[in-house]
């Protein structure tokens, strides 16, 4: 598994330098909605890794290596979680920093951060099996739709009730996280099944 992650890290850092600059900048300097978007971008990096695997036909070689299908699948989920976690940490540090420097006065909203993480987890859960099944081209299309739906959900909640999203998050962030985790477990099982065929 470590080898697979290392391979993806090399690929992402070499091919996506601009992404790796944009995410920290968004996390620190873009206000909270942009920061949340940085977390979502982190969650999207496995899609890019899968696209590069397809291009180099790495999957054919990886299938010959001592990795189970479960390892091959889970490494992509883990990559997404780690990238998202990295972006979330940058958001927290960035937001604390700009508050300490007096640029903004508001406290960091943990609930909004949870919303971003839950959205990222949902994105990974929906998108990854589609990527494994249909490839990165079609997967990219589903990714854009999912991102648009997640973006639109904020506005929809706001239209219904200005504080509806915060109310939902206040009710039980742990509950939302739990649902996202369950979705991911189901998603991983579906992806392993797809890979096994």
């Amino acid at each position: 598994m470590k080898g697979l992650l290392l391979k993806d890290c090399y690929t992402i850092t070499k091919q996506l330098k601009i992404f790796l600059i944009v995410i920290p900048v968004m996390a620190v300097a873009g206000g909270f909605s942009m920061s949340a978007f940085a977390v979502l971008l982190g969650a999207a990096l496995p899609m890019t890794a899968i696209a590069y695997d397809e291009r180099s036909k790495w999957n054919e070689l990886a299938a010959m290596m001592p990795y189970s299908k479960g390892n091959l699948v889970f490494s992509k989920y883990l990559l997404g979680y780690l990238c998202m976690l990295g972006a979330a940490i940058l958001v927290v540090i960035g937001q604390l920093l700009i508050k300490a420097l007096g640029i903004v006065q508001t406290d960091i909203s943990i609930n909004m951060l949870v919303f971003a993480i839950v959205s990222g987890l949902v994105l990974i859960a929906i998108n990854t099996p589609i990527l494994f099944k249909f490839g990165s081209e079609k997967g990219r299309f589903v990714f854009i739709i999912t991102m648009a739906l997640i973006g639109a959900s904020g506005s929809i909640f706001k239209n219904i009730d200005n504080n509806m999203l915060l109310k939902i998050l206040d009710t039980s962030p742990v509950f939302l996280l739990g649902i996202a985790v369950i979705l991911n477990l189901i998603s991983i099982m579906i992806s392993i099944n797809i890979k096994a065929k």
Binding site: K2, G3, L6, Y10, K14, W58, M64, M65, P66
Partner: protein, 281 residues
């Protein structure tokens, strides 16, 4: 124990079927898997490595069924080179060392870097900038650097110039000096297989045509050029394949069944394979 043992292997893909293939690779030997493009060589290799599922038949590798749960772990002992190398384009030889060190328990970076040096491969150059020969050499270096007991090589010498092919064949020969090491080498370049293989398995349009020791094959068959009159004197059961020519017939015959006075041509393995693949019975 056999390095590979295949029995009654069948796999269908649309209009292609690999039909009832059986062969075994003894430990310490090199087997050439020969056949035209699309004959079923790569399918056989994928089936051996359990990356595709057979319709029926059994395969054991290094004494273990490739359907057992432990087969993934056994892949630590199998070095594989595919017809294209398939490393991520942006990785260089150093990055690949790190990835493989984290993937193979027995990864030996001293061995790896000694091959990198032997093959004159640049350490910092990205994989996409390597030539075809360099890519294959890098793949072979990787396959040899985790102390494998079995090498499975799919068209590892195809598309390489004769100098590089010769160099690589020397490496394979060195590998099998250890009698616990074995190689299954698929290729459509029969001359390469003739140079180094102990056994030849010939697959044609998904069917097994031949599986024997190379020296036995070369001793057993010969090509003869016959006039129409001479052709009638050769026992029919001696003729394996025949081709009508303007002079008479060219025929692939079983040496032991023809009259010793009949002059045979110098027959290479390639001639035997081509006759079996192209000519009528």
């Amino acid at each position: 124990m056999k390095a590979i043992e295949i029995q009654n292997l069948t796999k269908s893909y649309g209009d292609f079927t690999l039909k009832n293939i059986s062969f075994s690779l003894p430990m310490g030997t090199i087997m050439g898997l020969v056949g035209e493009n699309g004959a079923g060589k790569s399918t056989t290799i994928k089936l051996i490595m359990d990356t595709v599922t057979a319709d029926c038949g059994t395969i054991s590798v290094l004494g273990m069924s490739n359907k057992s749960k432990e087969f993934t772990a056994l892949k630590q002992d199998i070095g594989v080179v595919l017809d294209e190398a398939y490393f991520p384009e942006v990785l260089n030889a150093k990055n690949i060392n790190s990835v493989m060190r984290a993937s193979y328990q027995n990864w030996n970076e001293d061995v790896y870097f000694s091959y990198i040096k032997r093959f004159s491969l640049p350490l910092g150059k990205q994989f996409k900038d390597y030539s075809r020969g360099m890519k294959m050499k890098l793949s072979i270096a990787v396959a040899l650097s985790h102390n494998p007991k079995l090498l499975i090589l799919d068209e590892a010498t195809s598309g390489l110039d004769p100098m590089v092919r010769d160099e690589i064949l020397d490496v394979f020969n060195d590998f099998t000096r250890d009698e616990t090491h074995s190689i299954l080498l698929s290729s459509h370049i029969v001359s390469d297989l003739e140079k180094i293989c102990d056994y030849i398995t010939f697959i044609h349009k998904g069917s097994l045509m031949l599986c024997e020791e190379k020296d036995v094959i070369i001793d057993k068959y010969a090509v003869v050029k016959l006039s129409n009159n001479d052709f009638g004197t050769v026992p029919t059961d001696a003729i394996v394949r025949k081709k009508k020519t303007s002079f008479g017939y060219d025929a692939l015959v079983l040496k032991e069944k023809i009259n010793a006075s009949l002059k045979t041509e110098h027959t290479r393995l390639e001639d035997i394979i081509i006759f079996m693949a192209k000519e009528e019975k």
